[in-house]
């Protein structure tokens, strides 16, 4: 008997009759049904064609925020989010990133990895600062890309973050100056290639657009974003 990684409820792996006669490979369960159902998938939903958020009936496509971005930035950016950034996902991020429970990467690593590989693009994770690395001991994005090949062509420009992204308000975040720089030795690897930037959460889109700008400067042919949550 194993326990759910999120709510510690004991779980019993259920193998259906079909699985037995069809020799389906049964993946070990990590979280219980209740916790699983609290996450809302965005794949297969009507989403904004630029930022990947769920569209409601009154919203235009692209959404209002992305229309504003079109005035501010010279290229069109497309982002795909796998899950809605709801209460369950917020709690997950809190435990995975801020509490530092590295095991929780397994919850979404496989799905995000498969999705990223299907795009047939070079994968570039968003980096963390050296300071975060010293405290947290891991980069939450590369944790999610465990089973994939990726190129760490970006690095954080500053040693420390003055404030966490999640502590700032929208106006502060939109004003963000370039937080990343290119790793010179690896920059040639992405020249002329199609690239997918990977991040954990897309909130205002500033971070990932800053990173995309740099990749275009390094000569990338096209850049899209893939985030776990939107």
């Amino acid at each position: 008997m194993k326990e759910c990684l999120l709510c510690q409820v004991p779980m019993r792996a259920e193998v259906s009759f079909d699985d037995i006669i069809l020799f389906t490979r049964v993946e070990p369960m990590l979280i219980c049904q209740d916790c699983q159902s609290a996450f809302e998938k965005l794949t297969g939903q009507a989403t904004c064609r630029q930022c990947g958020r769920r569209l409601t009936v009154v919203m235009e496509n692209p959404c209002y925020d992305c229309q504003r971005w079109q005035h501010q930035i010279s290229f069109n950016f497309r982002n795909v989010g796998l899950y809605e950034y709801n209460a369950a996902m917020k709690d997950y991020m809190k435990r995975y990133k801020f509490l530092g429970d590295y095991r929780l990467r397994w919850l979404f690593a496989k799905q995000l990895g498969q999705f990223a590989l299907k795009t047939k693009r070079l994968l570039v994770p968003i980096p963390v600062t050296a300071d975060t690395m010293a405290v947290r001991g891991f980069n939450q994005v590369t944790g999610l890309l465990e089973r994939c090949h990726y190129i760490e062509v970006l690095r954080a420009a500053q040693l420390t973050k003055n404030r966490r992204q999640s502590e700032k308000n929208r106006v502060d975040r939109l004003r963000l100056s370039q937080p990343f720089e290119l790793v010179k030795e690896k920059a040639h690897l992405i020249a002329g290639k199609k690239v997918a930037l990977i991040d954990d959460v897309y909130t205002t889109g500033t971070t990932i657009r800053c990173a995309a700008t740099l990749l275009y400067q390094a000569g990338a042919a096209s850049v899209i974003g893939i985030t776990l949550a939107r």
Partner: protein, 440 residues
């Protein structure tokens, strides 16, 4: 974050929580937060870790067992400072002017003796015997000798209820209440009241450690909390266990003479424990799932409400709470009532509302089985034969009744489908204690 060095006395924290100006103190001791050899093991909670699960990138490890209380990892050291016992030795710190009965007095002297001779002791006192009051004399002795004292319990409700009583009895001594949901910042104080989980943050801190309701989940059978307790107490500290229903583990320690024991079979007001009445009802669990209750139960509830008799209604599972609530509402019973369970966000407020007489009754799971006093209440238990209710839990539930001297008796009604071992064992335990009380 630590603001003052005194906040580190007797505590163990990750070096991450230490501001840079305190990092080079001469008193500061350090040890590895995770022991790598012989087996991967967390130094704070003692859990043996699985290498694959505990791995961080770059060959680092972390503890995933006690991660809720800030992460322990190989990137940071565990820092601690020896407990200096910087307390003024006050001679009469006790500001409580109540009287102990003769039997309580004997136990209170026993407690002082345990503290003086640094023994390990189990005080087996029936529910409502006045355990807290019997501690006062011992705590008073501890304060007079500058000892640091902790009262810990696995249950948060028990801690919250203990805190004002201890604070009122020792007004001039700093007391602090620590639990996972409290927002009070930590302060170095002589008396600490906390949940057993919070003890993990202490290291060789307490001369006297009192654990209330030892036999209860999550403490019993949880090696992490036992490890934490042994770390929190000084190597030659006194340990006092309190309970009304000791489990097999404690009793076997008594038999092996590792633990001394004393009994108090009678309540402070001198009346016997109320014995449960068992009422058999067919298909009770089916009725609960259908959201309809037997007429006898509804009639009893209506009768209690018309008599303005407050009561607790226990159900076995969280999912039964809503079902029983709607069953009572459908029966057009007019009353102020609420439901409460362990993960309820308003749990503390709801229990306070019941205590302040703003509610006529409360429907609850086993979380309110012990450590809480609602004066003059009755108790109804639905499905008392359910596996959730152990014999100890039933004894404790029955013990919620008749705790005040104004109303030393009351109704304890167990509704069950069949007679089962736990119910019978509960009846037997209460009868035994009452017989022992008769002989006094």
């Amino acid at each position: 974050m630590i603001n003052h060095i005194s906040e580190l006395y007797g505590r163990q924290l990750s070096s991450l929580e230490l501001p840079s100006e305190l990092a080079n103190l001469p008193q500061l001791n350090q040890r590895d937060a995770i022991d790598l050899k012989p087996k991967l093991r967390c130094a704070r909670c003692g859990a043996k870790l699985n290498r694959k699960q505990a791995a961080l990138p770059n060959g680092q490890f972390y503890c995933y067992v006690c991660i809720q209380m800030k992460r322990m990892d190989t990137l940071h050291q565990l820092v601690f400072i020896e407990e200096p016992n910087r307390f003024p030795k006050k001679l009469d710190a006790l500001s409580w002017d109540g009287q102990l009965t003769g039997l309580q007095e004997v136990c209170a002297d026993m407690v002082v003796d345990v503290f003086k001779n640094r023994k390990r002791h189990l005080l087996w006192a029936v529910t409502g015997a006045g355990k807290t009051e019997m501690l006062f004399k011992g705590i008073n002795w501890g304060i007079a000798h500058g000892k640091r004292i902790a009262i810990a319990s696995p249950r948060i409700d028990v801690c919250i209820e203990l805190f004002p009583r201890i604070q009122a009895a020792f007004q001039k001594t700093p007391v602090i209440l620590l639990h996972g949901k409290s927002e009070q910042p930590y302060k170095y104080s002589q008396i600490v009241i906390c949940t057993t989980h919070q003890l993990l943050r202490f290291y060789h801190a307490f001369d006297i450690l009192i654990i209330d309701e030892v036999d209860v989940f999550p403490f019993s059978g949880n090696p992490m909390l036992h490890f934490g307790v042994n770390n929190a107490i000084k190597p030659n500290g006194a340990m006092l266990y309190l309970t009304a229903t000791p489990d097999q583990h404690l009793l076997s320690q008594v038999r092996r003479k590792r633990l001394s024991i004393s009994y108090l079979p009678i309540r402070y007001h001198g009346h016997l424990l109320p014995e449960p009445t068992i009422i058999k009802i067919k298909n009770l669990s089916h009725q609960i799932t259908l959201k309809s209750l037997n007429k006898r139960i509804l009639k009893m509830i209506a009768q209690l409400i018309s008599q303005k008799q407050r009561f607790l209604l226990f159900v076995p599972h969280i999912k039964d709470l809503a079902a029983v609530k709607s069953a009572i509402q459908q029966a057009h019973i007019q009353a102020n009532f609420d439901t409460v369970y362990s993960a309820d966000p308003d749990r503390i407020e709801k229990v306070a509302a019941m205590r302040n007489r703003r509610l006529d009754f409360i429907i609850t799971t086993t979380i309110l089985e012990r450590g809480v006093t609602f004066p003059g209440t009755d108790v109804l238990v639905l499905k008392a034969d359910d596996a959730i209710f152990s014999a100890a839990a039933l004894v404790q539930i029955a013990g919620r009744v008749g705790r005040s001297s104004e109303r030393p008796d009351g109704r304890v009604l167990f509704y069950c489908e069949s007679h089962c071992a736990t119910v019978r064992s509960c009846q037997r335990q209460i009868r035994q204690m009452n017989q022992r009380a008769w002989r006094l």
